[in-house]
């Protein structure tokens, strides 16, 4: 199973996600990217992230994404 950081780097290899604590605010992820990212996370962790959880604040950084995954039943 890939880590969140690995998935982010696969989706957007041009960005250094480790250098940011606000992916959306820094322009690394936009609302359309969230669609792609959610699909990758769902597939990797075997879960289905709720539509109500697909909001920018849940995708600010690796920690908030991991919290979202736990909430949706992923074993991290």
């Amino acid at each position: 199973m890939k880590s969140v950081a690995e998935i982010l780097n696969e989706i957007r290899p041009e960005f250094d996600f480790a250098s940011s604590t606000d992916f959306v605010g820094d322009g690394m992820l936009d609302s359309f990217d969230l669609i792609t990212l959610v699909s990758a996370l769902d597939g990797n962790y075997g879960i289905s992230i709720l539509g109500t959880d697909i909001v920018p604040e849940n995708f600010q950084n690796v920690q908030t994404i991991e919290a979202l995954l736990r909430k949706n039943g992923a074993g991290l």
């Binding site: 041009e14 322009g27 690394m28 669609i35 709720l50 539509g51 697909i54």
Partner: protein, 274 residues
């Protein structure tokens, strides 16, 4: 439909559909600042139904149609009986990966929409400093306030306003003020423009167009190279292009853009001409 008067009304409408949602569905991803502009110009309206909030944005001679639904079932139920879809010209956008859009597209076609256009997103990653130089001989610079009408006219002559999210006069004026439009002028005419929005390390190219009368001057190339050269902190460039515009796709490919898998299915109801 009733007019939306505050930004809070929009977010309350979205939240109302989200709360208790079992399978939340939406095609509405509003940016607060843009909402302010639409509301100030009286362009936004809504309808609250059981489990669904619909939003409508007036744009020239039609409405953009958005939905926030607690589930696919509630959207199907309410959209098929929504009177506005039968009486007003409407266009809606569904964005996602190609396989994921079929179900929603089929549902909206049952509610009176038809497939109208398809846009694909293209992206260009930058992992090194740009080295190409700007074309000599042409002066590229920021558009000025007095260019606003000519820019809007050029956009409206060059793009399909139902499918390609053309800006309003107010949005063009704001973009000029924010230095988001580059222009090439030839003999005091706006010969070509490049309209973009940069947010952090990502820049979205909204429109790139050269007036037919000036297409032998290489103004398009000058604009694009100037754009890349000035956006030094940007690491990712994106844009949306109509899948039928093979010429544009080829040109974007020349500048390093490639399809990234995201699609926008544009649907129109029967009151929108073919």
């Amino acid at each position: 439909m009733r007019p939306v008067c505050t930004v809070d009304e929009v977010f309350q409408g979205i939240q109302s559909a989200k709360s208790g949602a079992v399978d939340f569905r939406t095609n509405f991803f509003p940016v607060r600042e843009r909402l302010h502009l639409w509301i100030a110009h009286g362009e936004l309206a809504s309808v609250d139904c059981q489990g669904v909030t619909f939003f409508f944005r007036k744009d020239r001679d039609f409405w953009h149609f958005y939905f926030c639904a607690t589930s696919l079932a509630s959207l199907q139920r309410e959209a098929t009986t929504l009177s506005e879809l039968k009486t007003e010209p409407m266009v809606t956008d569904l964005v996602g990966s190609e396989p994921g859009l079929g179900e929603m597209s089929a549902l909206l076609q049952c509610a009176g929409f038809r497939s109208y256009a398809r846009l694909q997103r293209m992206a260009r990653a930058v992992r090194w400093e740009e080295s190409r130089s700007v074309c000599e001989g042409l002066q590229v610079g920021l558009a000025e306030k007095s260019d606003g009408a000519a820019i809007l006219n050029l956009l409206e002559r060059s793009f399909n306003h139902y499918a390609e999210q053309l800006p309003t006069q107010a949005e063009v004026e704001l973009a000029i003020e924010r230095q988001q439009i580059f222009a090439v002028k030839i003999a005091a005419n706006v010969a070509g423009i490049l309209f973009f929005e940069t947010h952090g390390v990502t820049s979205s190219l909204r429109f790139w167009v050269v007036d037919e009368r000036f297409r032998t001057y290489r103004a398009g190339s000058a604009l694009m190279l100037y754009y890349f050269k000035t956006q030094r902190t940007v690491r990712r460039f994106t844009l949306w292009v109509n899948t039928e515009n093979a010429n544009a796709i080829l040109k974007y490919g020349h500048y390093g853009y490639a399809q990234d898998g995201l699609m926008d299915h544009v649907l129109a109801n029967k009151m929108i001409p073919s």
